[in-house]
Symmetry: C2
Subunit: 428 residues, 2 copies
C-alpha cells in the first residue's frame, strides 16, 4: 500500500550527523518512506544529491529551527545534556514528534522526564545510538529479552579507553604516549576527560541500568573511576597473572538493590570481554532464561552510530505499517564449495621412507599448491614404520587440491586416505 512519507528533521551535523548523511547517500535507508524536510547545522554542509533531500530546508539558527514543525521524527545529533540539544528534544516531544537521539548525556540525565513526556503524548523516544554504537544493545534489552529478567549487564562501553589500554600493553608504551597517538588518530578528543575518567561509561551504564531493570537510574548514583593514572607495569603484572585490565561498567541487581560500578579492573582472560580489544565495545547480558549473551561491535565512530540512528528511524516507521517488508533484491548466482579458493590442513599417513615428501611436493607443484607449514611425526607403533605428516597450505583452488589429493592418495607410500580440513581466515 502507498503510505505518506515520514518527514525527518535532523538537528546537528557533527561526527554522527556526517555518518548519517553518508549512509543515506551511499546505501539508502532500507525504506523508501522517508524524506528529510529539515537539517539544522551551525556550519555549512553539503547535502547529498538524493531524492530524499530534494525538499530539505537548512537552518543555521537554532531558534528558527525551534519554530519549525514540518516533521514527524526529530533526529537530535547535537549532544550535551543542556543547552540547545535539550531545548530541541523537549520542544519536539511537546509537539508530539517522535525523537531519535544519540545523546547519552541527555538521556542519562533526563531519562525520567523524557520517558514521562513521550509516554504522555504517545510518541516514541529512541536512543540506540547513545550506547555502544555498533551493538544494538537497546533493542536487545527492550525487544529480544523482553520476557527475561535481567540480573546483570556489564561490559566495555568506551572505545577510547579500551583502545588506550589495549595499545599500552601491545606496544609497551605509557598512558600519556598512547593517549597522544589516539588523539592524532582521532580516537580520542583533544579534551579526553569524558572518555578516560569514566564519565562516558557512567552515562551509558545509567541508561543500560534504567532499561535493564526498568527503573530510573540517576547518574549521581554512579561513582566513576577512570584510567588516567594507569601504569603500564600493572597491565603487565595482570597479564602474567592471567588477567586483562579493562575499563568496565557493571550494573547488577541483587534482591531489591542495584550495584553500579564504573572502573578499570582485572578480568580473567577467559571472560568474554577480556578479548574485546582496540576501539571495540563488548556487552554481556545475564538473564534468567538466556543465561549469558554477549555482543561485540565497534563502540563509537560515525558510521556504526549512524547505523543505530537509522535503525531507530525505521523502527518508528514500521510501527505504522503491517506486512513483511522483505522484498527480493536481486538474483544472485549461488556458488558452491567446489569453487572455493583458500588454504588447507592435510594429515598424511605414510610409510616412513625416502621419497614421501618429494612425492607429495611434486604433486602439489603440478597443481599450483604451495606449502605453508609442515610437521612430521614418527608413528607411535614401532612395528608399523609409519609416519604422520601434517601440512598446511597457502591459498589454492579447491579443485586443484582435490586433484592433487586424488593422485597422492593412490601413491604407494600412502597408508590411509589423507585427512583434509579447510582453514578459514575470514579475511578476504
Amino acid at each position: 500500500m502507498a503510505l505518506k512519507k515520514k518527514k525527518i528533521a535532523i538537528a546537528g551535523i557533527g561526527t554522527v550527523g556526517k555518518g548519517l548523511l553518508k549512509i543515506l547517500e551511499v546505501n539508502g535507508n532500507g525504506s523508501s518512506d522517508i524524506e528529510i524536510t529539515a537539517i539544522a547545522s551551525r556550519k555549512k554542509i553539503n547535502i547529498p544529491k538524493k531524492s530524499l533531500f530534494k525538499k530539505t530546508c537548512i537552518f543555521s539558527d537554532a531558534e528558527e529551527f525551534l519554530k519549525y514543525d514540518n516533521y514527524d521524527i526529530l533526529v537530535e545529533l547535537i549532544g550535551g545534556d543542556n543547552g540547545v540539544a535539550k531545548k530541541i528534544v523537549f520542544n519536539a516531544l511537546k509537539k508530539k514528534k517522535h525523537v531519535v537521539t544519540a545523546n547519552k548525556a541527555l538521556i542519562s540525565r533526563y531519562w525520567k522526564d523524557l520517558n514521562k513526556i513521550s509516554n504522555n503524548v504517545g510518541v516514541s523516544l529512541k536512543f540506540e545510538a547513545a550506547v555502544a554504537g555498533g551493538i544494538p544493545i537497546i533493542k536487545i534489552i527492550d525487544e529480544f529479552l523482553v520476557s527475561n529478567n535481567i540480573s546483570r549487564i556489564y561490559g566495555i562501553l568506551n572505545g577510547t579507553s579500551n583502545y588506550i589500554l589495549t595499545k599500552m600493553l601491545t606496544t609497551n608504551k605509557k598512558f600519556s604516549e598512547i593517549l597522544k597517538d589516539a588523539q592524532n588518530l582521532g580516537y580520542a578528543e583533544s579534551d579526553p576527560t569524558f572518555d578516560i575518567d569514566g564519565i562516558d561509561t557512567a552515562h551509558k551504564l545509567s541508561i543500560l541500568c534504567s532499561l535493564a531493570f526498568q527503573t530510573n537510574c540517576d547518574l549521581k548514583n554512579i561513582k566513576a573511576e577512570g584510567i588516567r593514572n594507569i601504569d603500564l607495569s600493572d597491565l603487565k603484572y595482570a597479564d602474567s597473572l592471567g588477567y586483562k585490565v579493562k575499563m568496565v561498567g557493571i550494573s547488577q541487581l541483587k534482591g531489591k538493590e542495584i550495584k553500579n560500578y564504573v572502573y578499570p579492573c582485572l578480568v580473567a582472560k577467559n571472560n568474554f570481554i577480556a578479548n574485546v580489544d582496540d576501539v571495540y565495545n563488548g556487552v554481556v547480558v545475564e538473564s534468567n532464561f538466556c543465561k549469558k549473551s554477549f555482543f561485540q561491535g565497534e563502540g563509537a565512530g560515525s558510521l556504526p552510530t549512524a547505523t543505530s540512528v537509522i535503525s531507530d528511524i525505521i523502527s518508528i516507521i514500521k510501527l505504522n505499517k503491517t506486512g513483511s517488508k522483505h522484498k527480493k533484491k536481486s538474483n544472485f548466482k549461488m556458488d558452491t564449495v567446489e569453487n572455493r579458493f583458500g588454504s588447507y590442513y592435510l594429515r598424511f599417513t605414510t610409510e616412513d621412507k625416502p621419497g614421501v615428501i618429494s612425492g607429495i611436493a611434486d604433486e602439489f607443484k603440478k597443481n599450483n599448491i604451495s606449502m605453508k607449514s609442515m610437521l612430521q611425526k614418527e608413528s607411535k607403533n614401532k612395528n608399523s614404520k609409519g609416519a604422520t605428516i601434517v601440512i598446511t597450505t597457502h591459498d589454492c583452488n579447491e579443485k586443484n587440491m582435490f586433484l592433487a589429493l586424488a593422485k597422492i592418495n593412490k601413491m604407494k607410500f600412502i597408508k590411509k586416505k589423507t585427512i583434509y580440513y579447510r582453514i578459514e581466515n575470514f579475511i578476504s
Copy 2:
C-alpha cells in the same frame, strides 16, 4: 490506551513449547495484551495457572485445529518441513493470521512461498527462533543493519556439534564417546544426523543468506559436510598450529555471486568464533558501515529459543501500538561501590628489608582480608634497595580493603602509594 488483547494459538508443545509455557508462567510476557486462545498438542499437557490461559482451548487433533480460527497470531512449534507443520502455517497465512515459528526446516525450504503469501495478505511472518535461539540475529540483520550492505555472515550455528568438538579436545576423548555423553546429557538427539552431518547448519545458513542478501537461497545450493568422521588427533594438531576446529556456516557475497559453505574447518584462535565453545552459538556479521559485529549466546535449548518466540510475538503486537512502552517497574535501592564485596589486585612499592610482608599481612588479618597470590620483584634500580610486591586477594569488603590500605600506606617501608585494582570474575 486500552487495546483489544491479541489472541495467540500455539501449535506443538515439544521442547520449545514447554519453554514458552514456562516463561509465560514465570516471567509473564512483557506485555499484558495477549491471551492464549488455543494450544494444539498430541500429548497431554499442563496449562499454567495464569490469567492469560483462562480461556485456552486444547486440541489434540491437528485437523480440528486447522478449522479453528479464533486467533490473531499462530505460534508454530511442531517442526519439520512437511506434514502438519507446513499445513498449519500455510493455512494460518491464508486466513490472514500472523505467524511466529521456530521451524528452520520449513522456513529454509519454503522461504520463497511463505514470504510471498505473507506479503500478499499483509501479515507478519517471524522466525527469530529458527536460527541461533539465544541470539537475536534475525532482528539484527533485519532491523539493526537495515541501512548497511552485508558482505559476509558466518558462524557456529549448531550447538550440538560445537559441544562435541569442544569436549573432544578438552577431555581427550573420541568423537563416538563424546556423542554418547552428549546424548545422555540431552545435548544430542538419539538420531543426531541433522546436527552432526551439517544439515541443521545448512538450514540455518540458508535462512541467514536469504535475509542478509535479500535473496532466495535454496537449500540445494548448500553442500553440507559434517563432523561424523572427525579424529581427535586433528583437533590436537590444529591446536598446536594455533587453530581451533569449528563446525561453521559461511555465506559470502562477492560481486553478484554468493558462496555458501558448511563444513568443519580450522579457525585461527584469535578469530571471534574460535572461543565460542560448548553449546554456544556465535555469529559474525560483516557490513560496510559497522564492519565486524559479533554475537554469542546459547544456540538452542528450550528457554533461549522460547525467548525468541516471545520477542517475535511482542514485535507483532507493537506494530499496532504507538507510544513508548517503558513503565517504571520498581523502586530499587541504588548501591554504591563503597559496599563492594570482591577481590583485589595490589601493587606495593616498598623498601627491601625484613618485616615488609609481615607488616602487610598483619594489617590484612585485622581487616579480614586473605591473600590469594603474591609475587615479589627486586627493584631494577640497584641503588634504591626497593621491592615491588604484587598481591591478589580473595573476596573481601571494599571498606575493609581501604581501611587496610590507608594503614599500610602510612607504614615506614612503603615508598609509594599502593596501586589497587578490583578483580572482576563476573561469577556471583
